[in-house]
């Protein structure tokens, strides 16, 4: 039983035209239930494309994508995953609670059940008294927490996140990383997490998937399990720095293979 299974997948945009882009070639990846996997690599290496293939927002050119032992299309219809993006993407015309209730509305839940679950989710993200506020009344970090609450409202087994903390300042970002780990541990959610921050990937992940561009592909998968009880102290621990070094080496390696590429563009080294 795997949460995500990607086999022999390639994605070519605008095939056969001058604008053809080989966004992904021959990608294989299996994510086990409860695992936290990050995708890292320079801009344009196909991280978002891979995530959208898993989400069935895109169809692969070749290969198969299975989620929860079903086709990606079937798991989307079954709402087997929740999704969060760099923009929180809250609906301005809905209160915070109504935003969280949206996936439940689409599942046809009745009003009382929706309201109860929204409150439960607000407590999970530690914003219990914010139900009736409008999204624009919240800070960026709070909006992102509401977006996570919305993504998890239907208790999906899988959470797909595309640089969700990319627009936040460093302090908020580290706080959110801790919160995300706590929430995923409490709800036993599997996560596929796109980032271009090396420390973020290492701190959060069981495994870091290193990708490289032109054509987009997976070059290395690094085990960096820092254990169950990660805390702020973990950020100063030796095995944290060892993980960072390993990922950095892997990113360099991908570029050494393609000697013409210079520095690792688009990857934050902080």
């Amino acid at each position: 039983m795997s949460a995500v299974h990607v086999a022999g997948v390639s994605k070519i945009f605008n095939q056969g035209t001058p604008k053809q882009v080989d966004a992904l070639v021959d990608v294989n990846l299996t994510v086990e239930p409860g695992e936290f996997v990050s995708l890292i690599g320079p801009s344009g290496c196909g991280k978002s494309t891979l995530l959208r293939l898993i989400a069935n927002l895109l169809e692969p050119t070749t290969g198969v994508v299975r989620v929860n032992e079903k086709t990606a299309a079937q798991s989307r219809l079954d709402q087997d995953y929740g999704m969060a993006f760099q923009q929180a993407g809250l609906f301005d015309w809905r209160s915070v609670a109504k935003n969280i209730e949206l996936p439940l509305e689409l599942k046809g839940w009745d009003k009382e059940k929706r309201a109860a679950r929204a409150q439960e989710m607000l407590e999970l993200v530690k914003l219990p008294e914010f139900a009736d506020l409008m999204p624009w009344q919240l800070s960026g970090g709070m909006q992102q927490r509401i977006a996570i609450a919305r993504a998890l409202a239907a208790h999906p087994p899988l959470l797909l996140m595309d640089e969700p903390f990319g627009a936040l300042d460093e302090m908020t970002r580290e706080y959110m990383q801790g919160e995300l780990l706590r929430i995923c541990a409490e709800t036993k959610t599997t996560v596929v997490f796109v980032t271009h921050s090396i420390p973020e990937a290492v701190y959060l992940s069981d495994r870091v998937v290193v990708m490289s561009p032109r054509p987009g592909r997976i070059t290395e998968v690094i085990d960096v399990n820092l254990g169950e009880n990660r805390s702020e102290d973990t950020r100063a621990a030796d095995n944290f720095f060892a993980g960072i070094t390993a990922v950095r080496e892997a990113l360099r390696g991908t570029h050494a293979d393609h000697a013409n590429a210079g520095a690792i563009r688009g990857v934050e080294d902080r």
């Binding site: 015309w93 109504k98 409008m134």
Partner: protein, 260 residues
């Protein structure tokens, strides 16, 4: 805003207006201007009150034309924008045309419409107002229905939402502020079109036609009294549109009534 600030905001234009009227009155007296050339404000105002019931009647005719046209144009504009947002091809065909039409004075069409109906009919003027409003509403609401954030669409698709659900929960609420913007632009345009379309024949019962006939008869003060009536009617429509806009923007957007 403090009360003092608010008072000052009202007081400054008020004092300026009174000073301007005093200057006008003084200039007419001082240069001994002939009454058919320029009437003094005092005469215009006394004329306004002595003719109040006739001005009211004329304002009702013009106002009703503007209102009926505003409502009809909005209804058809909203309906058409839904059809356009459904069919991309139609949209790319009609939107540029509608934008182009907004830039030309299409109210001259009323002359053609007048030929199609009886001489006493108000229908040509109402059609004319509807047309002007229709294009403004169409362009704006169609924009609101189609220019939806990509993230919002991806989130809806990740929840396996159908096109109808996306329409109800994303496109329509997104278009509501656009509709109010369109109404804010349309309301003054409707009154102006209603006045102007009276200059192209038809019965002589509205404010626009009364202004022309009084000028033709050298009744300068009476003409100005009707102009004052026209200003007041325009102001009413403008205030209504500003109120609508405020209602719409309260709480940062529309309220969601889609799932009660």
């Amino acid at each position: 805003m403090t009360l003092a600030n608010r008072l000052r905001n009202i007081a400054v234009p008020f004092v300026f207006g009174v000073a301007f009227l005093a200057f006008w009155e003084g200039a007419v007296k001082f240069f001994k201007l002939k009454p058919y050339f320029l009437a003094p404000p005092s005469k215009i105002i006394s004329n306004f009150f002595s003719n109040a019931s006739r001005i009211w009647d004329a304002a009702s005719v013009s106002g009703m034309n503007a209102l009926v046209g505003l409502i009809a144009g909005t209804v058809f504009g909203v309906a058409m924008s839904f059809i356009l947002s459904r069919f991309r091809f139609l949209n790319s065909l009609i939107t540029p045309l509608a934008i182009a039409l907004n830039a030309v004075p299409i109210f001259v069409l009323v002359a053609v419409l007048n030929n199609m109906y009886s001489i006493t009919s108000e229908i040509p003027r109402r059609i004319m107002v509807s047309l002007v409003v229709y294009f403004i509403v169409l362009v704006n609401v169609a924009k609101g229905l189609t220019q939806v954030k990509t993230t919002h669409l991806e989130i809806m698709r990740s929840y396996a939402a159908s096109d109808i659900e996306i329409l109800r929960k994303v496109r329509v609420p997104n278009a509501v502020p656009y509709l109010f913007t369109a109404l804010k632009i349309s309301a003054p345009a409707a009154v102006i079109t209603s006045f102007v379309s009276e200059y192209f024949g038809g019965s002589q019962n509205g404010l626009g036609s009364r202004i022309t006939s009084n000028i033709a008869n050298s009744k300068n003060a009476a003409a100005w009294a009707y102009v004052l009536g026209a200003c007041l009617l325009g102001l009413v429509f403008y205030i209504v549109s500003v109120v609508l806009e405020n209602v719409a923007s309260r709480g940062g957007g529309a309220t969601d009534n889609t799932n009660k």
